[in-house]
């Protein structure tokens, strides 16, 4: 039996779960996204730094399952270097695909990641006003 059938998640997911990128707080973020709640078991916080309409840095903190952590890690990787407009194009499917897929019952984690990103961008706009 191949080793990979023994994990619920793809290798890519497990890789991001094991070594999540961009974990932690950010000093003076330009935007903060906060989604989820303890009732459903997933909470994500996503911080972005924006320069010249481009996301130059992203960090996250997540309370949640393996998929929640991996999608958080992945979405922060994906946004870095993108313009705000480009970042807004990132869909939950794109995050899931970048991770080599998610089990159906875990797709909501990718939705959460997309929402966290949008929430951070909203916050960035709100702060700029």
């Amino acid at each position: 039996m191949p080793e990979n059938v023994r994990t619920l998640y793809s290798e890519k997911v497990m890789e991001h779960f094991r070594n999540p990128r961009n974990v932690g707080d950010m000093e003076k973020p330009d935007g903060i996204g906060h989604v989820g709640n303890p009732v459903c078991g997933d909470i994500m916080e996503l911080y972005i730094k924006v320069k010249d309409n481009t996301i130059v840095d992203a960090k996250f903190k997540t309370f949640g399952c393996g998929a929640a952590i991996a999608t958080s890690s992945m979405v922060t990787e994906m946004v870095k270097g993108k313009t705000i407009a480009e970042a807004l194009e990132i869909s939950n499917r794109a995050v899931a695909e970048a991770l080599g897929g998610l089990p159906p019952i875990k797709m909501h984690c990718s939705v959460l990641a997309e929402e966290a990103l949008k929430s951070a961008i909203d916050d960035y706009y709100a702060k700029r006003k």
Binding site: P38, E45, A68, H108
Partner: protein
């Protein structure tokens, strides 16, 4: 390195001796026990010997044991069987809010079919109050079903006290003893139960075999209709190798239970103490004393259970979470919520259940790995800073 298995409450390996006892019944003594030629009668004899061993383990009479396909079928046949057989008497069932799904989902099914179910609350330790049972009984009550040992938090319910109340009220009493049989001594007469569910794969027997103890005189509509097997109480060709395996496991449990329970209680308490000492902001779930010898259930503030589980799996340690991660629903453990835990704490719970092959070294290893894993996850938790 061999993985460290700490999920014996989910299922146990079948003991090699049990497998050995089963083997002849696949290929040699393979006859249908209902047949009257020699092949069949030999199988029948093996069946009855296994029945005696299982009966013996819980202080029952042989003819009070009906074999099933597992704990779930035992629970389903007890609840549905009593409900259907006693409809004319009443339609009220009393149960607790911390039952295994095999009982609680069956109750929900019966509610849809016109039965009324009272789900009794539990205290912070997961204990049902016998007084609550007493108060809940009405003239329409036909069944009380309260589990013996809780599969998530390990709390052992006051079954004998509830049995006394049931007896006085002349109401049938069922207990789901799937987690207790073979682990602590059981005597059905002392418990005062009419029905008791068991499952072989929780005591080193094979999966797919269980039994329902049915006290003589208990009225029950059979769950499986068909042939005359099990004195017409459960149709289907008997799973002879499986039942023989259950018998062998029961015999082994009878022999080793006393010493094993002591050994596990010691390891269990070492693990609990070790975690409480090494990690901050944790909470032991379940009763500190009235607790299955092999159960450790801890909530870790600020982190979610599945992510702990996966990290431990990467380190070769198999545990389980309170919440049903693999199910489509994202609801945290109903048991923990019923005990008053917040959603956050309920999501952050871990169950470690010990067994025959658990060693002191394994416990040490867990105590070394776990703090590291919790620290790593807390470092990425947005709840931590609060």
């Amino acid at each position: 390195m061999k993985p460290i298995y700490l999920d014996y409450a989910a299922t146990t390996p079948t003991h090699p001796e049990v497998v050995k006892a089963m083997l002849p019944y696949f290929t040699e003594v393979f006859g249908n026990p209902s047949s009257i030629y020699s092949y069949g009668l030999e199988a029948k004899e093996a069946l009855e010997q296994a029945r005696a061993k299982v009966a013996n383990l819980i202080g029952a009479r042989d003819e009070e044991i009906v074999f099933t396909s597992g704990g779930t079928e035992a629970d389903n046949s007890a609840l549905k069987g009593v409900a259907l057989a006693n409809e004319s008497k009443g339609n009220h069932i009393i149960t607790s809010s911390i039952e295994h799904h095999a009982v609680s989902e069956t109750c929900k099914f019966l509610e849809k079919r016109g039965f009324q179910v009272t789900y009794l609350p539990v205290d912070e330790y997961g204990l049902v109050n016998p007084e609550d049972v007493k108060k809940a009984i009405t003239v329409k009550t036909i069944l009380i079903s309260i589990m013996y040992g809780n599969n998530e938090v390990g709390t052992i319910e006051p079954i004998a006290e509830i049995g006394q109340i049931a007896k006085e009220a002349k109401v049938y009493f069922h207990t789901d003893a799937v987690q207790t049989v073979g682990h602590i001594p059981i005597a059905v007469d002392e418990l005062g139960v009419n029905l008791l569910s068991m499952s072989a794969h929780k005591l080193y027997g094979p999966k797919g075999v269980g039994a329902l103890y049915v006290r003589k005189g208990t009225r029950l509509v059979p769950f499986l209709h068909g042939g005359d097997q099990e004195k017409k109480r459960r149709a289907t060709t008997e799973n002879v190798p499986g039942i023989v395996g259950f018998g062998a496991a029961a015999e082994m449990a009878q022999r080793e239970m006393g010493q094993e329970a002591q050994r596990l209680t010691h390891l269990r308490d070492r693990l609990i103490k070790g975690i409480l000492e090494r990690i901050e902001d944790v909470r032991l779930n379940g009763h500190p004393k009235r607790r299955l010898p092999n159960n450790v259930n801890i909530s870790f503030n600020f982190v979610e259970g599945e992510s702990i589980l996966l990290n431990l799996d990467l380190e070769g340690i198999c545990v389980s979470t309170g919440s049903a991660c693999t199910s489509a629903s994202l609801e945290p453990s109903a048991v923990l919520l019923a005990m008053g835990l917040s959603h956050e704490l309920a999501h952050g719970s871990l169950r470690m259940t010990l067994g025959k092959w658990t060693t002191e070294e394994e416990i040490n290893q867990v105590l070394e790995v776990l703090p590291r894993v919790i620290a790593k996850l807390r470092a990425m938790s947005p709840l931590m800073k609060k």
